[in-house]
């Protein structure tokens, strides 16, 4: 009888992840209290960062884990934005109620979309998602009640009615954006730790092998696609609550809602939960310091993307993880020696 069988166990957490969890909670407390210490512009910038973080995490789940490389997520961002405007202007709903409803509608509309484009694979799937987004854009451009191709503004009165005072309204918008990012991170984290997550990780590593283990690939991908669409639509509703104005070109902008998001995920590290967080920080540091340079700024973004893809194809976090095995979100299982 050997004792070695008892000296080892399977564990998910590590020292790094436990430290990260404590630090994460502390950071969250600091961020929740931002309306007390941050200026209006800082809160606005942080909100934008949270919303981009949500989009990036969702795209990462889609492309990095489920292998669904979509370049048409702007379809759901725009759809969510338009639903917010429609529900607020026509149904008289408060934006606070319209946002989750927009997310629900986004998930509902994603079902027929998924049935259609899941017939396509690889590059054809990517192009297909873009086509869907263009169909959405052209369709909303025909809805004259929502301004058609001209777009429309959210009446200022609707936004003012959200809260009793200006500072309360700004704090509410900020908390909504923060909550969105936390919800997205939590949903993805819990999903990846679940049975479905194990299946997704297997699909990420080898689709063929996982299918031979009896994983229903289609169903797993379908669930991820619909879930992502709903959360992306909710994020879209929040984005356009901040922008106050929506038009088909702005709502379904492939640059703003997909190209930048892919940049963030690729820079940070695709297929890791930490990657999008790193990527969003890098992206906003570049933007806040360089965007006044005009076209040069976009050139620099391109150069950074090329450099990272050549030197660190797994992204910043992917490379770090490869070298150190560091993982802040306890997802991987590892064998650890018991202390006795």
């Amino acid at each position: 009888m050997t004792t070695s069988a008892h000296a080892y166990s399977i564990s998910r957490s590590s020292t790094a992840s436990r430290v990260a969890a404590v630090a994460g909670v502390l950071v969250l407390i600091v961020l929740v209290s931002a309306p007390l210490w941050a200026g209006r512009a800082d809160m606005r910038l942080l909100s934008e960062i949270f919303l981009y973080l949500s989009l990036a995490c969702l795209w990462n789940l889609l492309a990095g884990y489920a292998g669904l490389v979509s370049v048409g997520q702007q379809a759901f961002v725009g759809f969510g934005g338009y639903m917010l405007f429609a529900l607020a202007i026509f149904a008289g709903l408060s934006p606070l109620a319209a946002i989750p409803l927009a997310g629900l509608l986004g998930a509902v509309i994603a079902v027929p979309v998924a049935l259609l484009i899941f017939r396509l694979r690889g590059a054809y799937f990517a192009i297909g998602t873009w086509v869907i987004a263009e169909v959405f854009r052209l369709s909303f451009a025909q809805v004259s009640a929502l301004g058609g191709g001209s777009g429309t503004s959210l009446p200022v009165a609707i936004v003012r009615d959200m809260a009793s005072s200006r500072s309360m309204r700004e704090a509410t918008t900020y908390w909504l954006a923060l909550a969105m990012a936390v919800i997205v991170l939590a949903v993805i984290y819990l999903l990846l730790r679940s049975r479905n997550g194990l299946a997704l990780t297997a699909i990420r590593d080898s689709e063929l092998a996982s299918e031979s283990f009896g994983i229903d690939i289609w169903r797993n991908k379908f669930v991820v696609y619909v879930l992502t669409a709903g959360l992306t639509a909710m994020t879209g509703a929040l984005i356009f609550l901040q922008k106050l104005r929506i038009s088909p070109d702005a709502a379904f902008s492939v640059n703003d809602w997909t190209a930048f998001v892919i940049f963030i995920v690729v820079i940070g590290g695709i297929g890791t939960l930490e990657g999008p967080i790193i990527g969003v920080i890098v992206f906003f540091l570049l933007r806040e310091t360089l965007s006044d340079l005009g076209t040069v700024y976009l050139l620099i973004l391109g150069v950074v993307a090329i450099a990272v893809m050549l030197k660190a194809p797994k992204g910043l976090w992917g490379t770090l993880k490869e070298r150190t095995g560091l993982e802040l979100f306890p997802l991987a299982r590892r064998v650890v020696k018991k202390k006795s």
Partner: protein, 428 residues
């Protein structure tokens, strides 16, 4: 201080993620708000410096340099001299980005007044942000209907904080009708209106071209809204051919017009007068059309021949345009006058405001503006709706001369004080 906090906010997240400290570039720390002995008034400026609308902003550097020079000594208000800081941001021709930089200016820089110019994609998102954040806002360079109705404006109540000066659809319709009447061609018109902010306003069944043309006895063939950046105008061209249209009008972006005009030539469609809004403003576009650019007609908002001069620097329209051509080596463009006038109005408002610390006092100064600018009089007491005042509009033709294309004023019925400089020639 705001920048410092911004950095802190980011670096906490950096810490969370355990990223290398090298990422937290301290570059953003460099600027903090200076509280000098001389009080400072901040004007935020949003303009499409890059992207498809960049032509509208190509003279920004020249105009802003002139304004900054004129304001170097500050502005006197109630016996106190204020330094003026103009903070200019690029919208990248993107309404999403325009809203974002506007909010950076309003919330981050805490500007006292925000100005913006060039098409509804810039003026409308900036105005919406200013309205919500209760900061006075002045815009120009966008017909007033897409500005006002495009923002769900109600003529009864209007907006509180946002004001606009430019011309409207009724003016462009009048100018075009005047031009066509001189041409003496048959009253059959083909309309090309895209499904975008301008196109929907121009083609509107109530406020746009269709009712106005019908009222003047013109038969309009309108094949419906086309999607911008389409690559096929065959169906429109055959509809115009079938109706025997002698006149083509509409509001297009330059690439769409180039496509339409090339396909018209291929398909043997030869109208006698082609008068298009927006697409034919810039000399570079006309030159890119080669010989087919000769004889096209367009609205003219401003030209070196306009009999106005700057209230700020005293330069005439001609001197302003010549100065730009000498500085840049490029031909003058119409937005130059309006960009200059925008800052004339802003300066005048700051000078007259009863209390520069109070947004409502600045607002009152805007409402009471009576200023003669380089693009004409600006006075919000006599606009078509609250928040809007109109500047004069004429129409004219691109004619090829010995020194390249020249924009000749041929129709001035609604603004006879702007002299015509030539006669209209038919295309075929």
């Amino acid at each position: 201080m705001t920048h410092l906090r911004k950095t802190l906010g980011i670096s906490r997240r950096t810490f969370l993620a355990g990223a290398s400290a090298g990422l937290a570039a301290p570059a953003i720390l460099t600027r903090t708000r200076a509280y000098a002995a001389n009080p400072v008034i901040k004007i935020g400026h949003v303009s499409p410096r890059t992207g498809p609308l960049a032509g509208f902003a190509e003279a920004d550097d020249y105009v802003l340099a002139g304004i900054r020079q004129a304001l170097a000594g500050g502005i006197e208000n109630n016996g106190k001299t204020y330094q003026v800081e103009i903070i200019s941001k690029d919208s990248q021709s993107n309404p999403n980005r325009a809203a974002e930089v506007a909010s950076e200016l309003l919330l981050g820089e805490e500007v006292d007044l925000i100005v913006a110019a060039s098409t509804p994609d810039t003026t409308n998102p900036v105005s919406d942000q200013a309205e919500l954040n209760e900061v006075p806002c002045i815009t120009t360079d966008c017909p007033w209907q897409p500005y006002f109705f495009g923002r769900n404006g109600d003529p009864q109540t209007g907006f509180d904080y946002t004001y606009h000066f430019f011309w409207g659809l009724e003016d462009v319709i009048n100018a075009f009708l005047d031009l066509w009447q001189q041409s003496g061609v048959a009253k059959t018109v083909g309309g090309l209106f895209p499904n975008d902010a301008d196109g929907n306003a121009w083609g509107d069944e109530i406020h746009g071209f269709p009712p106005a043309l019908a009222g003047e006895g013109y038969a309009l063939t309108d094949p419906g809204r086309y999607q911008p950046l389409t690559d096929d105008f065959s169906s429109q061209i055959s509809a115009f051919k079938e109706a025997g249209c002698d006149i083509i009008t509409g509001n297009m972006i330059p690439p769409d017009f180039a496509t339409f005009w090339a396909q018209s030539a291929q398909q043997g469609f030869t109208p006698k007068v082609v008068t298009i809004g927006k697409a034919l403003l810039f000399p570079s576009v006309i030159e890119s059309l080669g010989d087919r650019g000769d004889g096209l007609t367009s609205e003219i908002w401003w030209s070196p021949n306009h009999p106005f001069s700057s209230s700020l620097t005293g330069v005439s329209s001609k001197e302003l345009a010549d100065g730009y051509m000498a500085a840049s080596g490029r031909p003058w463009t119409q937005p130059i006058g309006f960009k200059h006038a925008l800052f004339e109005v802003a300066t005048d408002v700051i000078r007259r405001s009863a209390d520069l610390e109070d947004p409502n006092a600045i607002l009152e100064a805007i409402q009471k503006t009576k200023l003669s600018t380089v693009v004409g009089p600006v006075d919000w007491s006599n606009g078509p709706v609250r928040n809007v005042t109109k500047t004069p509009l004429v129409a004219g033709q691109w004619q090829k001369g010995p020194n390249g294309f020249d924009l000749v004023i041929t129709a001035n019925r609604s603004a006879p004080f702007i002299a015509t400089t030539g006669e209209l020639k038919l295309l075929s």
